[in-house]
């Protein structure tokens, strides 16, 4: 989860998010390069006693400030396209989960083997126990096996929502009447938080997503228990 006064991304918990982090560093390096150049030129132009400051008709500088930006754009585009295609690779998921957005909660359906479904409401602030995170905790978490490719099919039952978990590098719009697909692998066990990322009404800020990545045997035990509870 995010911590107070955080500036950068959350620590990556999936291979795709790690790639996105490194690409962001690359793009930010280019941003600093251009910003330093522009700032220096602005200061140099502003702190001069010269009154005739405007160059007219210079072929050399026109070539430089056309070619250089084109080169910079290519340097940004190539890693960007690499990640885009990486995210789109055939990933052969081990598990498919449906995440449905409602006003104002998420519901998860695990229908690969049995029919397991449950709702996930935010835990209200007054019901939090010490150590829990305000506006981020949910009563039922989406549990997944760690280090397994997971496919999430995202949709909505009423208005637009968006299913996002920053640590996993995942965000997918939940559109009523449409099935959007995303996939990820949780590289390590843990609990990863996200929040609804498309304005959906009064409680848009109060429908968080909590993903819990545990080893496969514990995931299987959990899903058996959930099915038993549902059948009672």
């Amino acid at each position: 989860m995010a911590h107070p006064s955080q500036l950068g991304f959350q620590d990556a918990a999936s291979p795709v998010m790690e790639e996105l982090l490194h690409f962001h560093d690359h793009a930010l390096m280019i941003v600093f390069l251009i910003s330093t150049l522009v700032l220096y030129i602005i200061v140099a132009m502003v702190t001069t006693k010269l009154t005739n400051k405007y160059i007219l008709d210079s072929q050399e500088i026109e070539i430089i400030w056309t070619v250089l930006p084109a080169v910079i754009l290519i340097l940004i585009a190539l890693p960007s396209l690499r990640i885009l295609y990486l995210m789109d690779e055939i990933n052969d998921p081990h598990l498919t989960i449906k995440a449905m957005g409602h006003q104002w909660y998420w519901s998860y359906e695990y229908t690969d083997y049995e029919d397991l479904g449950f709702d996930s409401y935010m835990i209200p602030t007054q019901d939090l126990t010490p150590g829990q995170f305000r506006l981020l905790e949910a009563d039922h978490r989406m549990v997944i096996p760690v280090e397994s490719p997971i496919r999430v099919l995202v949709s909505a039952e009423d208005v637009l929502h968006s299913w996002a978990v920053p640590a996993l590098g995942v965000k997918m719009d939940a559109v009523p009447g449409r099935l959007n697909q995303t996939a990820f692998i949780a590289s390590r066990p843990g609990v990863f938080y996200g929040q609804c990322s498309e304005i959906c009404g009064a409680n848009h800020s109060f429908m968080p997503i909590v993903v819990e990545a545990v080893p496969l045997e514990h995931f299987e035990n959990w899903s058996s228990l959930m099915l038993e509870d549902a059948s009672l």
Binding site: L21, I30, R141, G190
Partner: protein
């Protein structure tokens, strides 16, 4: 006694020929500084983290701390 004629032309060009190389050099320094001060250490940090990472040990520690909903600590 007559004064030498002051330089009246090419003043902006002279200023640019002085300042633009410095501007490009500084911006390259900023980029290289960011690359070796932030980008490479971050890549190394992730590589080092996963080199020594024991998922079972970390999972057990988190489980005993009561972090998970699906798996409770051994005492419970």
């Amino acid at each position: 006694m007559s004064l030498a004629k002051p330089v009246m032309r090419g003043l902006l060009g002279k200023r640019l020929r002085f300042h633009l190389p410095i501007a490009f050099a500084l911006s390259l320094v900023a980029a290289i500084g960011f690359k070796y001060g932030v980008t490479e250490p971050r890549k190394q940090a992730y590589a080092d983290f996963y080199k020594q990472y024991d998922a079972v040990k970390e999972f057990t520690a988190m489980k005993e701390a009561g972090v998970f909903e699906s798996v409770r600590p051994s005492g419970e």
